[in-house]
Subunit: 152 residues, 2 copies
Amino acid sequence: MGDGLRSSLHHRGQRLTPQRQRVLDLFERIGEGTHLSAEQVHQRLLRDQSRVSLATVYRTLRLLSSMGLLQELELPEGGRRFELASDAHRDHHHLVCIRCGCTEEFENPAVLEAGQAAAEGRGFRLLECVLNVRALCPRCAADEALELESPG
Amino acid sequence: MGDGLRSSLHHRGQRLTPQRQRVLDLFERIGEGTHLSAEQVHQRLLRDQSRVSLATVYRTLRLLSSMGLLQELELPEGGRRFELASDAHRDHHHLVCIRCGCTEEFENPAVLEAGQAAAEGRGFRLLECVLNVRALCPRCAADEALELESPG
DNA sequence: GTCGATGCAAAGGCTTTGCACAGCC
DNA sequence: GGCTGTGCAAAGCCTTTGCATCGAC
């Protein structure tokens, strides 16, 4: 545990520090489906008695993303968020409620195929294929229907 | 021209101002495939002798997006950008070069179907379905290959 | 004439950066 | 021991907001 990270870093002439280890540990502990902002990562580490400065959290999130260990979500609402990017979990997509912010994940090979077709047809080399479905979750859809009946 | 916008605004108790007209005009003039940031909108309007403050540009972009006349892109790199959201142009997707930022658009009904299936399966009400494909364009892929051969 | 919209400048949030010191290799 | 990484605070960027004035209806 941690040696994979260590050697990946060494290949790049970089070092394994306790801070980097703690950030990656956190994401591994909370599992694949959870999306955290830099601020949330910072808060959780403080709660765990792991003192890491916010600046280092930002630097580490960028580093781990560039190494492919984390993945940045492309959801404009609510700022940048990151999640673990495990192989088993790659090419999954997000269903986001625009009202309460809750997210569900799903997979569908047709999406990757569509991205590949588009990239190949234009001579692009595909790197990543991200589908975001914005929607209302069942609860928020019900709430909204109520508000339309009796506004105010 | 402009009366559709006027009556849409009046329905909401809002007014058609020259500034709002100018922003929408700009997007209609440049066509569907072009994505502009708030700053770029501001610059173009200045160039056209249409004096609109940057604050108003921001307010207007948000307004027109909430009315469904513009659509915000979800590309983290390079800040928020907007494009015209015509019916004929809905449900198109973006192929983005992460190196030079150039974008291509494409359509593929399989993407919308995937989004609909995910939403329906979980009881969500689908609003929008956005696929972003990150890739290297032919030129940047070639440049990168060269750099790997002879770094520095 | 009223009430919403604009322009300006200041404030705000989030993120990055400069620098001295700490600590990994 | 050298050189990368950290922490802190300051700066930076993009966006929003308060307020007086303007102008659409």
